[in-house]
């Protein structure tokens, strides 16, 4: 099956869901979400049989000009799987979150306004999948905009909630600004090199007389991408938008949108790191971004009292670690995985841990009517198993060994040590130590503080299964990360 069928099927799934949703009773729209998740699951299964033109060079579809814009390699497959898995979990999270969605979209008792909330992530997913295959800046830009514009709607989805609207406006304005940077940078790159294709940019000979325009373009594109991944100093929108957006959207933003930014960054930087004259300045830029992001994300997370906001800062902090892996500029070899593999592995572990936490956060938000760390007080007494799962997930986010989070950090540190980035390593250790503090702060609230009047939290079936799966995956990947690395081979 040609690989582009995957995107086509995903878009089709989204369209079908949108149309079907219009004809369904407004009582419960949960099945739209469940259908979406099932459909994404089917497409996920199809990724195993998707092939690129190299596998069947004589087929008629392999000669289409589409392949000038679209590639299908290991990385593309990995990030397509990543997008599908993320979206499926987000849609399932939305199903269990629909009570709150309904409250802020339409009159009580009706789920009239919630149907599109399941279909829109599917479109964003198609954008992310295309992004993973993008071969040139124009295609990547269009795909990225598909993702971003969908997010504009998703963030402001709860239209009767002031917080959600405020987040939506902030995201719209800053997102548009970052798009402007991106387009402007692309224009500069095109102007100096005469091409938008990633591979051809690397053929461009960097000469003293003409490379400053290209570097300006690269810097602008990095600013644009910095917005997507939440790198300092382009991170200002993250805490407010994450806190205000509906929780499933926040989860999607922090996992899906970040991964989309990173795959684009990997694709964009790959040829630049291969060229001798661009490698030095680009790596320097990356390490500066990484140190600033690590410091800001981790230190600003320490005083947070709202758990959702804490997760926003934590997402900035993780971007810092990912940037550090990129900044070491290692290419994969016999001795160990390179920067690309480490970033991908880290993102995969981040997906598992973060989504697990968001599932629990969403239910605590619904049943205890609050998102602050105090609302987790005494969870260890009222729901020991749930608290144990959240403890494991938070320990993994902090990077405690034998969990998936440690594997990711471990690889990042070894890459950075190997590359001799001592400033980065030093800051990253401070960052990891700070991480221990603020993640375990929540663990402390759960186990060491009495619940007081706080009610027991009962997870609905879908959330229960998802939290279980994600927690077990966190532990299994913590001692056996080989499956993910095998996907990256």
């Amino acid at each position: 099956m040609p690989a582009y069928y995957l995107e086509a099927l995903t878009v089709t799934l989204g369209l079908i869901l949108l149309m079907a949703e219009a004809f369904v009773s407004s009582k419960s729209k949960a099945w739209v979400g469940i259908t979406a998740a099932l459909g994404l699951g089917v497409i996920l299964a199809l990724t195993t049989i998707a092939i690129g033109p190299d596998a069947r060079p004589d087929a008629s579809w392999a000669k289409w000009p589409l392949w000038n814009f679209y590639q299908f390699d290991t990385l593309a497959r990995f990030y397509k799987i990543f997008a599908l898995v993320t979206t499926a979990f987000v849609v399932l999270l939305s199903v269990d979150y629909r009570k709150i969605l309904a409250r802020f979209t339409d009159h009580p008792g009706s789920e009239n306004g919630t149907g599109e909330f399941y279909a829109l992530p599917v479109f964003a997913c198609a954008g992310m999948m295309f992004l993973a295959s993008a071969k040139d800046l124009a295609g990547a830009f269009v795909a990225l905009e598909l993702v971003t514009i969908t997010f504009y709607i998703l963030v402001a989805y709860m239209r009767r909630n002031v917080g959600s609207l405020e987040a939506g406006v902030k995201y719209l304005i800053l997102g548009a600004l970052s798009t402007g940077f991106l387009v402007y940078g692309i224009a500069w790159i095109y102007g100096t090199t005469g091409t938008m294709s990633f591979s051809e940019i690397s053929n461009f000979k960097f000469q003293v007389s003409n490379s400053s325009g290209l570097f300006f373009g690269i810097a602008l594109v990095m600013v644009g991408l910095g917005f997507k991944i939440g790198a300092v100093p382009m991170q200002v929108w993250i805490p407010d938008v994450y806190q205000g957006a509906p929780t499933p959207t926040t989860a999607f933003l922090s996992v899906g949108s970040k991964a989309a930014g990173f795959i684009l960054m990997i694709r964009f930087l790959e040829p630049l790191l291969a060229s001798e004259s661009a490698r030095g300045p680009v790596l320097k830029l990356l390490i500066i971004l990484s140190i600033a992001t690590l410091l800001f994300g981790n230190l600003a997370a320490i005083p947070q009292t709202n758990f959702k906001r804490l997760l926003a800062y934590s997402s900035i902090a993780h971007a810092g670690f990912l940037l550090l892996a990129l900044a070491s500029g290692a290419s994969g070899s016999e001795e160990g995985p390179g920067s690309t593999q480490v970033v991908s592995l880290y993102l995969a572990t981040y997906l598992i841990m973060t989504l697990g936490v968001f599932f629990i956060l969403a239910q605590v938000r619904i049943q205890r009517d609050g998102e602050s760390i105090q609302d987790f007080n005494g969870l260890g007494q009222t729901n020991p198993t749930l608290a144990l799962a959240l403890t494991i997930l938070l320990a993994a986010l902090a990077g405690v060994p034998l969990t998936a989070g440690f594997i990711g950090k471990f690889f990042v540190f070894s890459l950075a040590v190997k590359a001799g980035l001592w400033a980065g390593v030093g800051v990253a250790f401070i960052a990891a130590a700070a991480g221990f503090y603020y993640y375990l702060n929540v663990v402390r609230a759960m186990w060491w503080v009495n619940p007081g009047q706080k009610a027991e939290v009962s997870l609905p079936v879908i959330s229960k299964v998802c939290v279980g799966v994600l927690t077990v995956a966190t532990l299994v990947l913590g001692i056996w990360p080989q499956p993910i690395l095998a996907l990256l081979k």
């Binding site: 144990l388 403890t391 405690v400 375990l440 001692i479």
Partner: protein, 477 residues
């Protein structure tokens, strides 16, 4: 095969989570593990104990266990002995059995994994696994100001672990492997300049975990607050991880780097023995006193390590350190177990509230006396053999004509520690058990037969090693 010993407590922990009767499962697993552990100590040279499961191809990581030498076997033996005593002597608060015994088992599994690991990655990881239940248990079931104390130990040990991790990752990167035996084989790749920095990281990292002065201030309050099995397992077993790590990784790989830090290390270990010793004398409560005394005794083991650093071919130093680790582990576990018993029977651990307990509880007094004597270092008990060997090892390579070196001077000063231990232990014994009975001790219950079992197990180990130290020394030579 060794994997069975490591995973048995963890499997039992999962069984308890799933609803198996907590206390029985824990005792069953600990008893089975004791049998396996004793068998392993006798047959550690057999290749059948090695276990390796490739986890990652690139860089090669193996979930690998094995006995590279007798030191691991002794530590595993210590762990299984203390684990059984801990689960036998602990009494869970109402409704918290699962948490209480489950955490104890998880700690035991983590410690066993760390001592048996043949791969640096899992060596570190299993220790962290054991720390988490420690933090949680102190925070949930601790005495006194438990939240503050648990938070303090979490931050302290978390930071220590991260500094340690930095050193270990650096070391693994230089040697190009995570296999500990492979690292030692490739030790030439660790250049002298990096050696010095890595040695500093490892000394601070491991040192924090072992409560090396001045990174010790977490230890005494944490032990005073922790529930009995947690204090027994942490002070007795888990804390030895730092010393074991220094002997296993740092000493063979960083001979020059550690040598550069020898004088600071000697000063710090004297801080442990003398400063913390004096702090111990001034304690007003039994739990605080025991916590501080365990910090103090770490100084002796550091002295043996310092002797080994100063003269790497010293044949006595490593056996001395391991023997004392074993002896201290068993005796401090016994003391914490008995302190918990005293508190349960009298309702207090304040030395001024107690007195004359020997009249109402003669068996408790007798057993506590043995434990106190062991801690002081009376001949015939394991601590004596350990401490004497440590002092001998410090002088082993001393050339009488050249005068005393820094290690010998530190040794002479640290022998004062024996006097200090005698002072605080005997004073505590007098004020708890002798003199006129007071209200809290008049009708205190004595130990029943069942209560005595864990104490007897530990005392047997103390006497066996004390009277016939070759039992362990044969494993270590």
């Amino acid at each position: 095969m060794l994997a069975l010993i490591v995973f048995l407590p963890i499997i039992a922990f999962i069984a308890i989570l799933l609803g198996a009767p907590a206390r029985l499962t824990a005792i069953g697993a600990a008893a089975a593990n004791l049998a396996l552990g004793i068998y392993a100590a006798f047959t550690w040279q057999c290749s059948c104990w090695a276990f390796s499961l490739p986890v990652l191809e690139n860089p090669a990581l193996h979930l690998a266990f094995g006995f590279p030498d007798g030191m691991s076997a002794v530590m595993v033996l210590l762990t299984v002995i203390v684990t059984l005593a801990a689960v036998l002597s602990g009494k869970a608060p109402e409704g918290r059995e699962k948490l209480y015994f489950g955490s104890s088992l998880l700690m035991s599994g983590g410690a066993l994994g760390a001592f048996a690991a043949a791969d640096l990655f899992f060596f570190y990881a299993f220790h962290e696994l054991a720390l988490i239940p420690t933090f949680l248990m102190i925070g949930i079931l601790g005495r006194g100001d438990r939240k503050e104390i648990a938070w303090k130990i979490t931050i302290y040990l978390g930071l220590g672990s991260i500094i340690l991790l930095a050193g270990l990752v650096w070391l693994a990167n230089l040697t190009g492997t995570y296999d500990i035996a492979g690292m030692i084989a490739a030790k030439d790749r660790v250049d002298p300049v990096s050696q010095k920095s890595i040695a500093a990281l490892l000394l601070v990292g491991f040192g924090t975990l072992v409560s090396l002065f001045p990174f010790h201030s977490w230890a005494a309050p944490a032990y005073a607050s922790a529930p009995a099995p947690i204090a027994m397992l942490h002070a007795g077993v888990l804390k030895k991880f730092g010393l074991y790590g220094l002997l296993r990784v740092a000493v063979p790989l960083l001979p020059e780097g550690l040598n550069a830090w020898l004088i600071p290390l000697l000063v710090l270990l004297l801080g442990n023995i003398l400063w913390c010793g004096l702090v111990t004398i001034s304690q007003k409560r039994l739990d605080g006193m025991l916590g501080n005394s365990s910090v103090m005794h770490m100084g002796y083991i550091f002295l043996a390590i310092a002797a080994l650093i100063a003269f790497p071919e010293n044949p006595l130093a490593q056996p001395a350190a391991v023997l004392l680790m074993f002896a201290h582990g068993v005796s401090i576990a016994l003391l914490f177990g008995l302190a918990d018993r005293i508190e349960r029977n009298t309702g207090s651990l304040d030395l001024s509230d107690l007195g004359g307990l020997a009249k109402s509880a003669p068996k408790l007094a007798f057993i506590f006396g043995i434990a106190a004597m062991a801690s002081i270092g009376l001949p015939g008990l394991a601590n004596f053999s350990g401490e004497v060997l440590v002092f001998l090892s410090a002088f082993k390579t001393c050339d009488g004509t050249a005068g005393l070196g820094p290690v010998q001077i530190a040794c002479i000063l640290s022998i004062w520690g024996v006097v200090i231990s005698a002072v605080y232990m005997l004073r505590a014994y007098r004020s708890i058990f002798q003199g006129p009975a007071v209200k809290s001790t008049e009708s205190a219950a004595d130990l029943t037969l069942v209560d005595r079992i864990p104490a007897v197990i530990l005392i047997l180990a103390l006497f066996a090693v004390g009277l016939y130290p070759n039992l362990l020394l044969n494993l270590l030579r």
